[in-house]
């Protein structure tokens, strides 16, 4: 009797967790654990509730679990639809969207949604689907088509304006395109121009950031952000304040950190968005370089594992999708830590699995679920 009850429970447990990639699961558990303890410290004295964080983590897990059960084939079938609906919603935003803080990003369809979020997943799905379709018969104009698929939503998002999300969606699509085989001779010139541009900005930052210099193609506030990054002290109480304060938090953490709940920068409200976009500063201050190295190691392991899963995926769709999703995780982590530590301009990018926020956790859970699904269905497809 007793034994069979235990067996029954064991069976239920196994049926829930079977198919979830163990390595990936442990890494995500580690990151979510770091996220949770940091959240506890960061949310002290703020209106954000501990129950909400638990709920968000649960939802994220459930989404991941469900997606991991979904065969990649289904995603392949749904890809065009998801992309199509996403683009349609973006057009709707452009026409009827809500305006908040000068940006038209939201759509009221009974409840308010932000369609650009959908594109973060829809873009790699769609492009992976496309290259899957063109498998073996790729022509140069395939990249033209891919560019159009990529360009339309990116431009729509950039026009909102939401340059940060546009860049992330663009990156997600570019990963697929590059991994799909975009010739190096087409890639390298852009890498070269980009690197050259960055060097120019660093050298001539002072000149081009002068008050009366107008930058073509970008909004004034965007110029301000880049310029503030180059010299945060130029605007210590305005835009530069966030960067300066988060750098102080990170730097003052030292090697071992100030200890959990001991971060003065965080607890005395010097860090903006301390449980969302700037949560890394809170973690850094309290757990020091040591904690950061552990966190970075976890992220690195996550990416290595994701790429490994993709590398052994059975067809171009799963390969491209998996690798792109993995590299999105990487991009989020890199851009977030880069911005919080004053290496990159401040753009609204959460730190994967660490930052508080339902939408991001669900999106990331969805991504993790895709990776697990690819891993789980690998053998099935092969056999």
């Amino acid at each position: 009797m007793e034994k069979s009850a235990i067996d029954k429970a064991k069976n239920i447990f196994l049926s829930i967790f079977s198919g979830l990639d163990r390595q990936l699961g442990l890494i995500l558990l580690g990151l979510a654990g770091i996220g949770f303890i940091t959240f506890l410290s960061a949310s002290q004295n703020t209106p954000v509730r501990f129950e909400d964080e638990l709920r968000n983590l649960a939802i994220s897990f459930v989404v991941m679990w469900i997606v991991s059960r979904v065969p990649p084939k289904w995603l392949e079938t749904a890809a065009v639809w998801i992309y199509g609906i996403g683009v349609a919603l973006l057009i709707a935003v452009a026409l009827f969207g809500l305006i908040k803080k000068g940006a038209r990003r939201w759509l009221n369809i009974g409840f308010v949604i932000q369609p650009s979020e959908i594109m973060k997943i829809a873009m790699p799905l769609m492009l992976a689907w496309y290259f899957q379709k063109r498998e073996g018969i790729q022509k140069s104009w395939d990249y033209g088509v891919a560019a159009i698929i990529l360009g339309i939503p990116v431009l729509l998002i950039a026009r909102q304006p939401d340059l940060g999300t546009a860049l992330l969606v663009f990156a997600a699509g570019m990963y697929v395109i590059i991994l799909a085989g975009l010739p190096w001779k087409w890639i390298l010139p852009f890498v070269g121009i980009g690197a050259f541009g960055i060097i120019l900005i660093i050298i001539f930052g002072g000149t081009i950031c002068a008050q009366d210099v107008v930058w073509p193609l970008v909004h004034n506030y965007q110029k301000h952000r880049v310029c503030t990054l180059l010299d945060p002290s130029s605007d210590p109480l305005g835009k530069g304040f966030h960067t300066i304060q988060s750098m102080i938090a990170i730097g003052s953490g030292g090697f071992f950190g100030k200890g959990w709940f001991q971060g003065t920068q965080a607890h005395l409200e010097f860090i903006p968005e301390k449980h969302t976009d700037f949560v890394f500063a809170v973690f850094s201050e309290e757990f020091g370089l040591l904690g950061n190295l552990v966190m970075l190691a976890l992220f690195f392991a996550l990416i290595k594992r994701g790429l490994a899963i993709s590398a052994s995926a059975p067809n171009p769709f799963t390969r491209l999708l998996g690798a792109s999703v993995t590299l999105i995780f990487f991009t989020y982590a890199f851009v977030n830590i880069g911005m919080v530590s004053g290496l990159l301009p401040v753009v609204g990018v959460p730190l994967p699995f660490i930052s508080y926020g339902g939408t991001a956790l669900v999106t990331l859970g969805f991504g993790a679920g895709i990776l697990m699904s690819i891993h789980r269905h690998r053998r099935l497809v092969q056999s």
């Binding site: 498998e135 085989g181 730097g251 850094s284």
Partner: protein, 635 residues
């Protein structure tokens, strides 16, 4: 159309490797950045985080008292309720807030201006008074409405008060809110002072300093009076809200300053001047203690403490009476005949004259083609030295001046302090003019102006010409003579008192130097000056004194005090002669020396000497003139 190779697994994996490499490089970049921030620059950021987190909330120190030589307090502090507003919590809508508050308590436009000025100069954590000295009713009314005004509270604050109002205003000075320039100047003082310097300690925490002495004793003894503000080390949020107190350092109250001035004597003299303008300085010759330092008219220093209102300021500043002008310190006057005793002494010391040597005075002295007149028509007849002083014979001194020459006069007068900074403990002293050929050369631009003309020497003998001294210098010179050539530095402060133990540290009287004089010569002059009050120009004024007093009247033609500025309508009055008087008493062993001027009053004997007589009667014998209201100790 170019055709590409099928993207097989191999090429995909190749790209995955490249992606891995790219990711690795990016992570190394992050690690480098974090090592830079958390190891290399750690100490810098740790310091920044600490200074972010901690604010020092100042606790102002009590200012030292001002006490006269007999223990009467003439500058003190009192505590009153004020309405304080925390600058952090009202950003933006200051006027609205004040409008609302003004429905509950009275807030004048001046209060509003002062408050807004404070806001502009504010630093982090600033709380500033909007309205001081709340009445009981106002306090009660605010307390009922308090919930409506977060960041506004009632607090007890310490205020400076001068209980005798106008009395001695020029010597006391006043305190006022520290301006940005004051703070910057103090910062420089601190930076320049050496470690371990007790004065540096007194000024070490600037944010606690809201008031500084602006003129007078309040200014010159600022570092003694101020004390050291204390502070609480408070942990604050980014928004400036205090979280908890980490430590506190108590304030050290300022020291009391004991003046050498006898405030009752000061009061009496100020009353005796009535509506006359003028300056009066009394010195104790043996010590250099200044006993009275009067500048009339004066002003009420209490008006300045919380910022003077523009109407009062305009009135004071525009008045032709110049009540803000510190006459004994800055006003320069020709000494007139009060200079004669010094000239006579010069004649003896330089051996140009003997006491018995006489001249015959026809009533004038011709030099070149100019006639220098004596004020007595027909002259004084045969005049020896004593008579020259007693009768104030001009011709005697025309001749003496001619015989000495300008440079000999200059060299003799200089050590007495004429035309020199006396070094009194007040700022802004005028130097005056003690002419010499060198002085003229340095002062004028054109060569023909630089040349000294012999004729210019003559009138110097009777204290006219280029001679121009402050009343302080005249009193100082008189004291030096009364003290037989021992020069004591004049000072207004006698001692520094510890506010707790009441122990006094004397600011030792400083003997600056001695003038080498023949005692018999001084006796001749002193005797002649006593005779002035027995049978001379001011004999009637000094009839019936219980003490011997030496003196000399003077009447000086108006020369300085910017007479050009005066309006036509008042010109007549302002062109009248100044009445001067110098005295020392008791003659045998002087304990008090007086120099004074009554501006545009006329003859010295008529207007100045009577004031000196009454002052001496009080100081030496305690006699209070009937016509002057009794001295009343401030409540």
């Amino acid at each position: 159309m170019v055709s590409f190779k099928k993207p097989d697994l191999d090429s995909f994996q190749e790209r995955i490797h490249i992606a891995t490499l790219f990711v690795t490089v990016c992570f190394l970049l992050l690690v480098t950045r974090l090592v830079w921030l958390q190891l290399v620059s750690h100490s810098k950021y740790a310091l920044l985080a600490e200074s972010n987190r901690i604010a020092l909330v100042p606790a102002p120190a009590n200012r030292g008292l001002l006490i006269d030589r007999n223990g009467i307090v003439i500058g003190r502090n009192y505590s009153a309720l004020t309405l304080d507003v925390n600058a952090e919590e009202v950003k933006g809508n200051v006027d609205e807030l004040i409008d609302e508050l003004s429905q509950i308590v009275l807030i004048s436009p001046r209060d509003r201006r002062n408050f807004k000025r404070s806001l502009e100069d504010s630093r982090k954590m600033g709380t500033f008074p909007l309205r001081s000295m709340l009445t009981e009713i106002e306090t009660a009314r605010f307390m009922v409405n308090r919930y409506r005004f977060p960041g506004v509270e009632i607090r007890a604050r310490s205020f400076r008060e001068y209980p005798y109002n106008e009395l001695a205003s020029h010597l006391i000075g006043y305190i006022g809110r520290a301006s940005k320039q004051d703070i910057e100047r103090m910062q420089i003082e601190i930076d320049n002072s050496k470690a371990g310097d007790p004065d540096a300690l007194q000024t070490s925490f600037l944010p606690g300093i809201h008031y500084v002495g602006k003129i007078g004793i309040e200014q010159s003894y600022e570092t003694v009076l101020r004390g050291r503000p204390g502070y609480d080390e408070v942990e604050i949020t980014a928004g400036g809200k205090p979280v908890r107190t980490l430590s506190s350092s108590p304030s050290v109250p300022g020291k009391n300053v004991v003046l050498s001035v006898d405030i009752k004597l000061q009061y009496l003299v100020e009353q005796l001047y009535g509506n006359f303008r003028g300056a009066f300085v009394a010195i104790e010759p043996e010590t250099g203690d200044i006993l009275a330092f009067v500048s009339k008219p004066n002003f009420n220093p209490n008006d300045f403490v919380e910022g003077i209102d523009s109407l009062t300021w305009k009135e004071l500043n525009d008045s032709p009476q110049k009540p803000l002008y510190n006459r004994p310190l800055k006003g320069i006057y020709p000494p007139g005949s009060t200079y004669k005793p010094f000239m006579a002494l010069a004649g003896l010391e330089t051996k140009k004259r003997t006491p018995s040597q006489t001249i015959s005075d026809p009533g004038y002295f011709e030099f070149g083609n100019h006639t220098f007149r004596d004020d007595k028509k027909g002259g004084h007849g045969i005049v020896d030295m004593q008579k020259s002083i007693v009768d104030s014979c001009d011709t005697y001194y025309y001749l003496l001046a001619r015989d000495m020459g300008v440079n000999m006069m200059h060299d003799f007068m200089k050590p007495f302090g004429f035309g020199q900074i006396t070094g009194i403990d007040l700022q802004g002293e005028s130097k005056g003019i003690l002419p010499s050929t060198e002085w003229k050369k340095n002062t004028f631009k054109k060569p023909e102006q630089q040349k000294w003309y012999e004729g210019e020497t003559i009138s110097l003998g009777i204290g006219q010409g280029y001679n121009a001294f402050t009343i302080l210098q005249l009193a100082h010179a008189m004291a030096n003579m009364a003290n037989n050539g021992i020069v004591m530095k004049p000072h207004l402060v006698k001692a520094i008192e510890d506010p707790f133990t009441r122990n006094r540290t004397l600011t030792t009287p400083k003997e600056s130097y001695r003038i080498d004089l023949v005692p018999e010569n001084i006796e001749v002059i002193k005797k002649a000056m006593v005779e002035v009050n027995n049978s001379g120009t001011s004999a009637s004024v000094f009839k019936g004194t219980g003490y011997q007093v030496g003196g000399k009247t003077g009447t000086a033609q108006v020369f300085s005090l910017n007479s050009k500025e005066y309006k036509h309508s008042s010109t007549a009055e302002f062109l009248r002669d100044h009445a001067l008087y110098v005295a020392f008493a008791p003659a045998e062993k002087p304990t008090i020396v007086i120099a004074m001027v009554v501006e545009n009053a006329g003859f010295g004997a008529q207007y100045a000497a009577p004031i000196a007589r009454k002052a001496l009667d009080f100081y030496l014998e305690g006699k209070w003139p009937k016509e002057i209201p009794e001295w009343k100790r401030a409540p």
